[in-house]
Symmetry: C2
Subunit: 306 residues, 2 copies
């Protein structure tokens, strides 16, 4: 891993692959292909499930490496198994560190605690590898700038962070849409990110401090895109959660850049149903995911006119 | 573990021990007693550090078990070591599940992800033990009720949750104090918790859905206490962060109940400085922590007039 600014690295990867597709690795054992679930029964309980989860994630990464611009492992699906789950997550991150890995951990704490979280995921050049190496993390803004400060030295080097502004779920309205000085809270977060991210801008103008804005709220996205023109946006909530590909332009800039779009269930469980479903015994699950990812890559590019 | 309502269990523990002291386990290797740090050098890198961290936490729990009403392990200080750190956290939780353990993880996500987090920490009666068993967790409110819904079945049984309303750090003002309809955001969170927690009230009137309010903001606490009379309050930020023991009554009810107060550094590193510092080689660190915890127990009770 070199010290290229994270926003520049993301930008280069988008252009090189002509892809804005992030694949979200949310491996839920009960939804894995039957072939993997059956094999898991050879090992006792959690061990078998984790073996299947590991094989599943690796299969999908291997089949989509030239299509996905980044992968977003969701920590919860590993933490659910405690230390053994963290072992699988750790191995997955370490053995795929040539990819842009964005760990979806949504941490947010203060002082020495926030420092400890940062050290779990990031390092500066010359430091020993962190246990859970990745290029970027998601983060919760509720505690304010104190929780971000310990990450700034990493953002100034080659790592990135996406701060939640507007999440894709229905009840995100409860607090995130409430008006403060006539402006929704999520817009205040976006404005803060635009300001806080200024020192971390790369050669293309984007900052390594980005935002999360749910695909389910395109009007919010259009406002936030204007409020935080230098923040790359990570967009969850397309397809399974109801966000529409045809709204992608609200999240991107006029060149179709500055935004990447996450697909979790719609890609990783493509084998199970829909137009990319497996026609056989589901052992071709990774190819189904590849077909789905390629479909979304093209659809997004078409929607963005790039 | 039986199915006693969590708020009742906490209440009974406060009364039985005459203590409102929660001990925060935030083990930072560089601050551990020299004796433990030296011993750690017998093992390679992280392994030695984790051995020391484990011995440190166990020493403090053993020395304070009759004084602390609960322990609050901070996940970040374990996650910082990846899977190996989670192994130590897991062992610590499993082997101390007779105590009220409140895991400070500040999670907050949606749908199946939030469910996965809940399963890491909680179980219903009759289900297999979760990997990271505890009685309660801290949680971030930013995503709204969707992120809490998957926890409700556990709250209805015998587990608890403390939702962040006002955190103890200076920049908590940036978003948490902003006015929405003339009322700070943290008050809206408190009002929502009062409403959401109604189904989880126990025999003493308190709900198993509580709040976090920093000791550094007693005026906010007085407002929130009135807004959410049924929510137990977990109070971080005393002493080291500047919160004052003499302000404790703003967080509690008129009987001095409904609030517990966390001490991390002021108790766990008591050996290193201040009136309870070690006079010897720091191998008596646990006794120093005991003396500090006992001091705070008495001071809090005196401040609350109980």
């Amino acid at each position: 891993m070199s010290t290229q600014n994270f926003a520049d690295r993301l930008h280069d990867a988008i252009v090189a692959r002509q892809s804005r597709v992030v694949i979200g690795l949310d491996p839920d054992f009960s939804k894995l292909p039957p072939a993997l679930r059956e094999k898991a029964q050879e090992l006792p309980g959690p061990e078998g499930e984790l073996e299947a989860i590991s094989a599943f994630c690796r299969g999908i990464i291997n089949a989509t490496a030239d299509i996905a611009v980044a992968y977003k492992p969701q920590v919860a699906f590993f933490e659910r198994y405690g230390a053994a789950g963290y072992g699988v997550l750790q191995d997955l991150l370490v053995s795929h560190n040539e990819y842009l890995l964005i760990v979806d951990c949504k941490r947010g704490d203060i002082g020495t605690t926030s420092e400890a979280y940062a050290k779990a995921y990031f390092k500066l050049e010359g430091e020993p590898e962190p246990p859970l190496p990745c290029y970027a993390v998601t983060h919760n803004p509720y505690l304010g700038h104190d929780s971000i400060a310990p990450y700034e030295k990493y953002l100034a080097a080659d790592r990135g962070m996406f701060l939640l502004a507007k999440t894709s779920n229905p009840s995100s309205a409860e607090f995130q849409d409430r008006l403060i000085d006539d402006v929704p809270l999520c817009d205040h977060v976006a404005a803060a990110v635009e300001r806080w991210g200024e020192p971390f801008r790369g050669d293309y103008g984007y900052s390594s401090l980005g935002l999360v804005v749910g695909a389910t709220f395109p009007e919010t996205a259009a406002r936030i895109r204007a409020l935080a023109p230098h923040a790359p946006i990570l967009v969850p909530g397309l397809e399974t959660q109801g966000g529409k590909l045809t709204d992608a332009h609200h999240f991107a800039d006029e060149k179709g850049l500055g935004a990447v779009f996450n697909f979790s269930r719609a890609v990783i469980y493509a084998y199970a149903s829909g137009q990319f479903a497996s026609s056989g015994d589901s052992s071709d699950f990774a190819n189904c995911s590849r077909a789905a990812a390629e479909h979304y890559r093209r659809e997004l590019n078409a929607s963005l006119g790039v």
